[in-house]
Structure formats: C-alpha cells, structure tokens
Symmetry: C2
Subunit: 436 residues, 2 copies
C-alpha cells in the first residue's frame, strides 16, 4: 500500500455524508481505504449542520475550488442533476483527474460526451453508485461477465416505486394513499414524477444497456410507463392469478449475431411477475437486476437500491478501484479497457414492434353471454395466443375481463386490442401491462 | 486493444471445454476476448473425443509443457484435486505467469502458500470460478464491497445438495432415493461424499471467509454437517412450520472492532430458512450468496452454481481481468492490491461456543401429558428461549416434539439437550438443525 489518493467531494448531503464517513473511519474496511484522503469538499451552505464533522478549511462553497485543487486526484460528484454536474465532471477530466459519480441523469444523457473526454484524457469515470445503490452491478457488467454474449438485462431499479407497489400489494391500498404516505416517510420526493413516471428507471436501464451491449442508445426514445395510472384492482387480480406487479426496466437484444448496429428493445413498464420468479420476492426499497447471457445463463444481483450507506459503499468502491489500479501502473494515460468501458459497437432502438413479450389486459364489458368468446376470437384472429382469460366482478353494471397472453409482438397485440374495443359489448380497455 | 495474451489450459473436460469454446468464439463478447489466444492445452488422453476441435499441435499430455511454454502468459488450471494441481500452479507462478483456477480444494487448503508465492513473483492468482460457478462473488468481495466492514457471508454454495434438498421438499421423497436419481442424471458424483457431507461447501466458505475478513482460517477446523443424515420428516415438519431446509455455509465475525486475531465463526449445516427469506427461493442447482456489512446492509448474488458454461464464464472473466490490467500497466511486478487480495489481518476460528443462532430440534418422546411442559422447562432452566414447540405424530408408540429456539449460544443448547435427553419421557434426540 502507500500511495495516497486525494479525494475531492462535490456535495455533502445524504450520499456525500456517507462517503465522508467511510473515508474518515477506515478501520475494519479494506486497508486500501486508509490511503484515501478526503482533502476538499464543496457544500451549498457552510453554516448547515452536517452528518460528519469536517475541519472548516476543508469546506468551500466553490465547486471549482475542489475540481482544481492540486491535492485532489479523484473527484466525487454527488450533487446530482444535469448542470453544473456535467460541466464540473468535464473540467475534472480535462485536468487529468478520474471521476466517480452517482449521477444517473447526467450519465444517461451525457455519458457519450463524458466517456469521450475521459478516453482522450486517459482517466476513469466510474459509476457503480448510479444504478442499484450499493448493489455491485456496473462492475460485474464491465468485468465479471465480459466473457458472455449478454442477451437481456432486466430488473427492479427504482426503490420508490417498488416500495409503493409492495405496500399496494400487501395492504390492498390505492396508489394515491400509499404515495402520500411514502412522501411523509421520506421514501418519495415531494415531486415524485422522476420516480413514479419511470424516468429514473429509464435513465438507469439506458446506462445498463450501454454497458451490457457495448454502445449507447437514445435515452429519450425509451418507451416508458410509470405506475401513476396503475389501479389497485389490477394488483389484486394479478395476485389472484399468481403474479406480483413490479415496475420492470428491460433491455434486450433482438439480433443474436452480426448486426450492425445491433437492434435492441428497451422499455420501462409495470409488469406482472410470476410468484416463483426470482424478481417476485424483491420487496420494499430493494432493487434486483437479472442478467441473462451465453454461456452464463441467468444471474441476479439483489440488495438495497438506495440510501446513504449503500450508495456510499458503491462510491468508495469506485475510488478504491482507481487507487488499486494506480498501484499496478505508474504510466499515466494507460487505462484498463474493462474498467474504462468504452463503447465498442453501435446499438439502435428497434421501432418495428417486433419485440415479443406476454401482455396483461383488462376490459370493461357488458355482463352478457358470449363476451369472453368474442374477446377470445379477436385475439385468435390477430394470431395472439392466450394463456388465461378470466371474468371478474360480474354484476348488472357490467363485468371485467382479464386476459394474459402468451409471447406475441406489439403489433399483434395492438391489432387485437383495436378489434376488441370496437366490439359493442366492450366499453373500454381499462389496463394494459407487461407480463413475464 | 491489441496486446495479445497467450492462454495455456490444463484440462479439457467440462469446464476446460467451455473455456476453449469461449476463446475460439469471441464474437458478440467483450472485444478484449479477441486478444486472448489459446496456445497450449494439456489433456490426459490425446485420442479422446473433445467438445471443441483443436489443432493437434496445440494438445499435449505433459502439463509442464503448457506451464513452461514461453507463449503462455496466463495458466488456466481446471484439472481439479490437490496434486499435481498445486505443484503446477506454483511452477507457473515461479515462471512469472498469472494463474486462473476453478480449484476450490487446492485454494482452500494451500491458498496461503499460493498467495505468498504470487506476491513474491508479482503475479495474480484469480479464483472467480472456485465459488458459485458463474456468479460474480469473488470479485465483488475483493473490489466492489471493499469499502465495507463485512459482518457475515452466508449462502447456498453447493449445487448438488441444493438439487437433492429441492426435490426432497417438492416430492416428499427420501434422501437416498433422490441421491440415486441425482447420480443417474449426472447431478451427483458416483462418490458423492464431497458434496453430501458438506466438504465442498466447507472449502468454498473457507475461501469466501478469507476474502471477506482479510485473513485465512484453518480449513480443517470448520464444523461441517452434510445432508446424508437428514430425514424427510424434518423437511416436512419444517415446511409445515413455514421453513425450507437448505445446506447453508456461514462465516461471521464475532468481534465488531479491533480484535487481533479477529474471531470468526464458520460452519456448514442443514438449516431452516423462513419462506420469505431471499435464500428460501433458491432451488435446484442454483447457488446464492448473501453478504452483510456496514454500511451496505445486505446484498445477494444468485445464479447457476456449476456447469460448463457458467464456470467457463468466470474463468474467462479472470483472464480478461489480467489482460485488462496489463494494458494499464507496463511495469512488471506491480499488482493491483484489490485484485491480488493479499491477506491483511489474522483471523481465528472461535471455539468458545459463543456464537448465537436459532436451532431446530426434534425429540422422540412418550405421548404422555406434561412432556411438552417438561421439555420447555429444561430449555428455560438453561436460558434458552423458545419460539415454538409443536407435537407431531402422536400415537401409542410415542410422539415427536419439534422445538425452534430463539437465538442462543451453542453452550446453552447443548446443556438443554443433555437435560432433556435425560428425561425419562424422552427416548432420544432425533434431529438437530440450524435455523435462520
């Protein structure tokens, strides 16, 4: 050991405080943590009480003073948001410093620009904390699973929505009531849109996809459905049919080999998960990511998806990685290509509707004889094969018909839904979710 | 990219064939796989049919010819067993070559010797494939979780026994019948002792413990109970009480801070796992490892614990890691301390009986009034608090009493069991398992 690494920190909120706390208390951790020295910290307000006690001289309100401090070897960015985070990251790279960030929004949108700058400067930009909190998932995709042809990455990667969905399922409660409670408890933001509309999950699956398939896609084009329109009755019907409802983010390849660019399907949507599926038991604010590939088969990574401690664990792991590799290498500018994770291929979002998956749909109908037959007939005519069709809540006011299909294309399902909602006995499509 | 890495392979069986297959088919994998060149392969019999076609000139029956080939930069050892594996690994290290091995037996017994030799030579010995098949668990313990004080590593790390236990639970079948079927299907060896007696799991938890806590322990002193004496009735009673039975391997610290040497408890034993615990859903030949620490909380790694493809995925990941770090470093002899994973502390197995856990015990008793009261009384006198006490199968021939305790020390439980088996109404202790 012995090479001291100076760490500069932008932000001393929940995660920043967690990082500082680890660096100031290295005992019982890997001995290399002792070589990480916190030298400068940018905060918004010098007077605010802090979770950790730091000498006054270490604090500044000027982020540039941290970036440009010659004692700072590695810059840790945990202020979040797009700007000034993006500019500060680029400034640090230009100054020849490696960067560790937990900022999924800036990486999902400006990852290509940042990676190009890092490559030109011969430094690392490490992002383990940007997806899955403390769960090691970025590093395994970059290194431990590098021998595989990755076919699919999917998972529960937003803790707030998983907390809400877990309580809806356990208590039979309505979305709005649980959201209000989650806001009160601090599990959801005052403005919950980034979480409940699926935008945070879309940022994260864009990042995982780039690593898994070797090239970026257009973040803004990812089909994204959140949980704000999800009804308690669908969570209940799913449960009766043997499923849980999870907000799943999915990235999968459409072509097995030799496509350039490689066509991918990415999506974020509420999805039925069979009770015996490994993702079904992932509850509360936990996250889990499934990676499928050849020859590995299927591996899953599970743990706390957010929180000061887990996220700080991932941030410090990245700093350690930079410190460790620096001990192996005295030649500036040479980087480990696995850790650097440059793109090595072009990828493109497929818009042909060719992706195949199972669907859950619910219709409001008249409670008349033969409706189930007519609905089933429309599916059949569009080539949609059905796994189950069940009537719920029949009364004089009408009935609800719930259908779970086998794997079919988007196009087949839209055609069938059009034909069914045109039936005089069907008053409307009440829900349309994915199904594993 | 561009630096070619010559790979020598000892063994071309299931795993070796899988490794060769990945190296010969690099397309769609990380581009660095193209830089790995298979140059020499040692086999036992040149005439045997192979899963992969290799040029005759690449094959030899002399392992030393692979170790000493100047074109071999990295030696992959997948022949298994203690000797000649140990000697060949040491020879390669002495020749300045890094080694990748899937051999848990040799690492669990000779890991300290091998690590010392690797340190002296400035090379790596990487062992991702030795535990958990394709699941990334070695690398996360060495790098991604390095910021944590690890408190506990536990899991299902033997696929054969988990396959047998899964079928016993699902079919209500007896151990012997399922074992015979597993042998017929190739999931268990003709001599199943290493698996069913827990020795393989003990090798693996010794390796995980060394990485998690920073120092080796005495492999031969790990208390190890396999599943060969497990009775179907206990699997059934556990199910009725809301538990599955798994062969768990556990390594946990006893002292929180500042102990030297650090006292650890390691054990392998059939253990009741509550139905809603993340490990309860791990079935068939799958493995899963839970890591608990501060500040991460709890993370789990899940996937296929054996098989040619998953194990080869882990072997090639290790070769990639060596290739990647070589690109960052042209200075021979300097290693990344995280990847090298030297020991940095002394650990010792605690033999004081101070470890606390829950217990499941079953007694054969007379079906007489007051027996449950007397059994409960003995536990109480020894300070053992009880979670549940249930009588099964009462008849004229007697009854069975099943007790699940709260967390207590080994010593408290042994005292209570002695007192209970001394009761005239109790004919014997029929089962004693762990309980999460």
């Amino acid at each position: 050991m012995g090479t001291r690494i100076g760490v500069g920190l932008l932000g001393l909120g929940t995660v920043g405080g967690g990082v500082a706390s680890i660096l100031l208390n290295p005992q019982e951790r890997h001995p290399l943590v002792k070589d990480l020295e916190l030298v400068k910290v940018a905060v918004r307000d010098l007077k605010r009480p802090r979770p950790v006690a730091l000498p006054d001289a270490m604090l500044t309100t000027d982020p540039a003073a941290v970036v440009n401090d010659p004692a700072v070897d590695v810059l840790v960015e945990v202020i979040g948001g797009i700007e000034p985070a993006r500019s500060l990251i680029l400034q640090a790279i230009d100054a020849g410093k490696s960067v560790v960030t937990a900022n999924k929004a800036v990486i999902a949108r400006h990852g290509t620009e940042i990676a190009a700058a890092a490559k030109a400067a011969g430094v690392y930009v490490l992002i383990e904390a940007a997806v899955g909190g403390g769960i090691p998932i970025i590093e395994p995709l970059k290194q431990s699973l590098g021998a595989n042809r990755i076919d699919r990455v999917s998972g529960i990667i937003n803790g707030t929505t998983n907390y809400i969905l877990t309580r809806m399922a356990e208590e039979g409660a309505a979305y709005e009531a649980v959201l209000a409670d989650a806001q009160r408890l601090g599990y959801a933001e005052a403005d919950p849109a980034a979480d409940v509309d699926g935008l945070d999950a879309a940022d994260k699956i864009a990042i995982l996809s780039t690593l898994a398939f070797g090239g970026p896609i257009d973040r803004s084009a990812i089909p994204t459905t959140g949980i704000s329109a999800l009804q308690g009755s669908d969570v209940d019907y799913a449960r009766q049919l043997g499923y849980g409802v999870k907000l799943l983010a999915v990235a999968e390849r459409l072509g097995k080999e030799g496509h350039d660019p490689l066509p991918l399907s990415l999506r974020v949507q509420p999805t039925l998960v069979p009770k015996d599926h490994p993702l079904a038991g992932v509850n509360g604010v936990n996250n889990a990511i499934l990676v499928e590939g050849e020859p590995i088969g299927r591996v899953m990574f599970y743990g706390p998806g957010a929180g000061a401690g887990p996220t700080a664990s991932a941030v410090v792991a990245d700093i350690l990685n930079i410190a460790g590799i620096r001990q192996a290498s005295d030649s500036a500018g040479s980087v480990d290509p696995l850790l650097a994770a440059d793109s090595w291929r072009s990828c493109v979002l497929d818009e042909s509707g060719a992706i195949r998956q199972r669907h859950y749909v619910r219709f409001n109908t008249l409670d008349a004889p033969g409706v189930i037959g007519k609905v089933g007939g429309c599916f059949g005519e569009c080539g949609v094969s059905i796994q189950s069709i069940v009537q719920f809540n029949a009364s004089e006011a009408g009935a609800e018909i719930v259908v779970i299909t086998h794997e079919v294309t988007e196009r087949q399902v839209s055609d069938a839904l059009q034909a069914i909602t045109d039936l005089p006995e069907v008053s409307g499509l009440a829900a349309h979710l994915g199904c594993l």
